[in-house]
Symmetry: C2
């Protein structure tokens, strides 16, 4: 084997080997295990903790407040299923991983968003009960890009805690509930994410949505917040997430997050302009004017990269397929829900039954250019010309 | 941004871009999402399902029996916490992720292994109760490398099912319990893993222990076996594991597993020889003879790459650190347990209180050469010479 076949060892072990090190810890993994007490294990541990510190710095948090997970779905599950038992408050347009986790606890109030896809923080406040343990409201919606008033909700929560409805309780954790969790997965690329300023206790995000690799995410958990793990095993991640740590992934997440911060302001400006140009061109397209476009979700409090439209009578799945045939990749609803027969719960929350035709989501990114937008509008023009006769 | 900074896009998107494709689905991820219905999403889906099929082929399973997870700890948790409620049977030398998951259910029988680190299948059989829903026995131990009699245990289970103690029950799943789960994480590199021949219903393994990347693992789940998910969200992995699939990871796991199968026989022979040479050299080393070496775990039914020894009076952590200072990476106990004050539960199971000095694990791998072994024995010789005066 040794010299005959190409080595499958990770770069770190190959380098160590060249430096004359002997690795006899393969049972710990073909990557050195950060929990091992030998030199290479300690080196991995340093990398892991360095990644944690860098992420904490971006969030304005302590490094012991960062828990690495396999992704945002796990982070959301950990925050919600890991919270103490009690009543939960969330909205009706959360990501499936939040809605479905909440459903497991059986005591949930789903606050309905307004027609613009934004929740009223006063309505969140009205949903609180003496035994409310957690409020989970996404920072920005994955389908329509609407930005929720996280700071205002945090203020309502602080207010509620002070007047603590738990005052008659004998619990020593008086006034610490409800915890405030936000799924920031879609927000990280474009919105401020200092946790203290947001006023959140728990915040989920992942790497694959911010140009990092798959399989790694994190949950920010404020120091005084108590949650229990979803999984059991070793004491990794302060006992909250067992399993040998994905050091490479953690480092890549740190790098991706720092890069996002570095270019955030510039990207927000660039994409806002590009997205507005996109809508403007659509609205002025002759054919599209005939079809009639409805923009889903508030236009002001919205991620700069999101354009979500409904087109009366034309099924959006068909539009996605027609666009794809022209080399343009858009989405009919959240990918997690693609292929399901039911319409998007987000669009339904905004439009009710009238949402049957679905919606078409364009989400722009780092590589998106004006030329891409021009080509896309042209393609849509063609598609509508073709479909017009069937749908009119 | 566009042309000024190095693109962070994954290779697939860069390639698509060069081919004139426009990606406007960044909200689904900076990797195309395999659940998206556009061309690039479908391409990812094909890769994912191709990886699943390849893994299934190696295991002699159906592709719909492979559930991708974030690693073996998650796979073990999913098998154990996901099983129907009831009594569990396991052994006292399982990995922490099995022992701790079992502990959550509160109705567990821990069958003690024999002094050689192997469990008696008859004792497993004796632990069965009418309400036993799951038996979880690892295929090979991570610390001492002992191989458990999986086929024999499977036979006992089949026998028990036939005479079904559930016969007085009105359940329609009569005779299907207990399910048989094995954690095959350490076994995959060296032992046969055709699931039908093993007779298991559930089998955990991961990628990082078989020279693949971190953050990806799988659970084999036989078709008729019913488990519930640990996490909630989208319907990925047949509703058993939500979250956008780690396609890259799945493909890498498939590749790693196929590579393992390809070289398994050769590696088993090579490493067995090398490990026997290692022990022989140790036993004939003058200094080591004085110290006295105890081999932990059965020597015959053992992974070919494992040598685990105890050395009376000398703390094994000290040995690991002395070896590390000489460029040799070994392990004092399972890395998941390193740094904890308590001695290894595996060694304690074999030796009882006398295990206080701990154990030293050498686990060999693809790159290990005879020269490495010679250098290691020489280093141990030196270390014992140095420590002798303190410990005699």
């Amino acid at each position: 084997m040794k010299s005959k076949e190409k080595s499958n060892l990770p770069a770190m072990l190959r380098k160590a080997r060249r430096a004359g090190k002997i690795y006899l810890d393969y049972a710990s993994g073909s990557f050195p295990n950060p929990n091992a007490i030998h030199e290479l294990g300690k080196e991995e541990k340093r990398k892991l903790e360095d990644a944690r510190t860098r992420i904490a710095r971006v969030l304005g948090a302590h490094s012991d407040e960062i828990i690495f997970t396999s992704g945002a779905t796990e982070s959301n599950n950990l925050a919600i299923l890991g919270a103490p038992r009690g009543h939960l408050v969330t909205t009706n347009i959360e990501h499936a991983s939040v809605l479905e986790s909440c459903k497991q606890t059986k005591k949930v109030t789903y606050v309905e968003v307004e027609k613009n896809g934004i929740v009223d923080s006063k309505k969140i406040r009205k949903a609180f009960k003496p035994n409310t343990v957690l409020v989970s409201v996404m920072y920005a919606n994955n389908e329509i890009g609407t930005i929720q008033p996280i700071r205002e909700i945090a203020k309502e929560i602080r207010h509620f805690r002070k007047r603590s409805n738990l005052k008659n309780s004998k619990r020593s954790d008086l006034g610490t509930f409800p915890y405030f969790h936000t799924d920031a997965t879609q927000a990280v690329n474009y919105l401020p994410i200092k946790v203290e300023k947001l006023g959140v206790d728990l915040m989920s995000f992942n790497s694959a949505k911010i140009y990092g690799p798959k399989g790694i995410g994190a949950l920010y958990k404020k120091r005084n917040v108590r949650i229990t793990p979803l999984m059991w095993g070793g004491n990794q991640e302060r006992g909250l997430r067992p399993g040998t740590e994905n050091v490479e992934g953690a480092v890549a997440l740190a790098r991706a997050l720092e890069q996002v911060e570095k270019i955030k302001d510039k990207e927000v400006k660039r994409l806002t302009k590009l997205r507005d140009y996109f809508l403007n061109k659509l609205e002025h397209s002759h054919i599209l004017k005939n079809v009639g476009i409805l923009v889903n979700g508030d236009w002001e409090n919205r991620l700069p990269n999101n354009l979500n439209i409904s087109i009366p009578k034309i099924p959006s799945d068909l539009l996605v397929i027609e666009l794809s045939a022209r080399g343009i990749m858009a989405s009919a609803k959240s990918a997690c829900k693609s292929g399901e027969e039911t319409p998007s719960h987000v669009i339904a929350a905004l439009r009710g039954k009238a949402a049957d035709e679905g919606s078409l989501r364009f989400s722009l990114g780092r590589e998106t250019s004006k030329k891409d937008i021009d080509r896309t509008v042209k393609a849509l023009d063609e598609i509508f010309k073709k479909l017009e006769k069937w749908y009119n």
